[in-house]
């Protein structure tokens, strides 16, 4: 019985984390923190879109700028689709727009990573409080 409960708990944490990665803020929505979810979704999406607008989708380059890509993919797995489109080098971007685009999209991804970690922690804390641990 206890083992089953622990498995359910791990599954819940995994679901919350994956949901938070799939759609920014969705993990908080699962935890019924609607205000937080809306604020996080709007801010991360806006920051990411600003980076894409300034630098174009060329800033998502899984081949030439791998370290930035690792940060960018933290926004959502959907970034991989953009990476697949721009991987052929059809959207060249240089200079200041390239820098600003990378910084905005990368920071948006890292902020979402913070939210993912916080969602999982909050989900764990809630379950622990409920079970009286």
């Amino acid at each position: 019985m206890e083992r089953r409960s622990k498995e359910n708990h791990a599954l819940f944490l995994l679901t919350a984390g994956l949901l938070a990665w799939l759609i920014p803020g969705a993990g908080y929505f699962l935890l019924k923190e609607k205000k937080r979810a809306v604020i996080i979704f709007a801010t991360i999406t806006l920051t990411f879109c600003t980076g894409l607008y300034v630098g174009s989708i060329g800033v998502i380059d899984p081949v030439a700028s791998k370290p930035w890509y690792v940060a960018q993919i933290m926004n959502s797995p959907m970034v991989a689709i953009l990476g697949h489109i721009s991987a052929g080098g059809g959207f060249p971007v240089y200079g200041r727009p390239n820098e600003v685009g990378h910084i905005y999209t990368g920071i948006a991804g890292l902020l979402n990573l913070l939210c993912i970690v916080n969602t999982v922690y909050l989900a764990h804390q809630r379950r622990a409080e409920r079970s009286g641990d």
């Binding site: 604020i39 801010t43 920051t47 174009s56 971007v93 727009p97 913070l114 939210c115």
Partner: protein, 82 residues
């Protein structure tokens, strides 16, 4: 339909952004985003007034710290090159 195509097309070419002092203002929206997300994850309960107050305080302190750092580095560079 044309409007949607126009919006999508605007994401396929980079904007013109010169390497000038004015381009440093691009750090302000990013700082605001960092302040908003940080406070959204840290505040125990979110109310409009409290959230705006806390976010503004964090945004201001980050900007002031950046200005102090920039001035220090500028002074240091000036002293070295004189």
């Amino acid at each position: 339909m044309a409007a949607v195509a126009f919006v999508i097309a605007s994401f396929t070419a980079p904007q013109e952004l010169g390497t000038n002092p004015q381009s440093m203002f691009m750090l302000l929206p990013l700082t605001a985003a960092i302040a908003v997300i940080y406070k959204a994850t840290k505040l125990p309960t979110i109310t409009a007034g409290n959230f705006i107050k806390e976010t503004t305080a964090l945004f201001g302190s980050i900007v002031i710290f950046i200005i102090i750092t920039a001035l220090t580095l500028y002074t240091l560079a000036w002293l070295i090159t004189q």
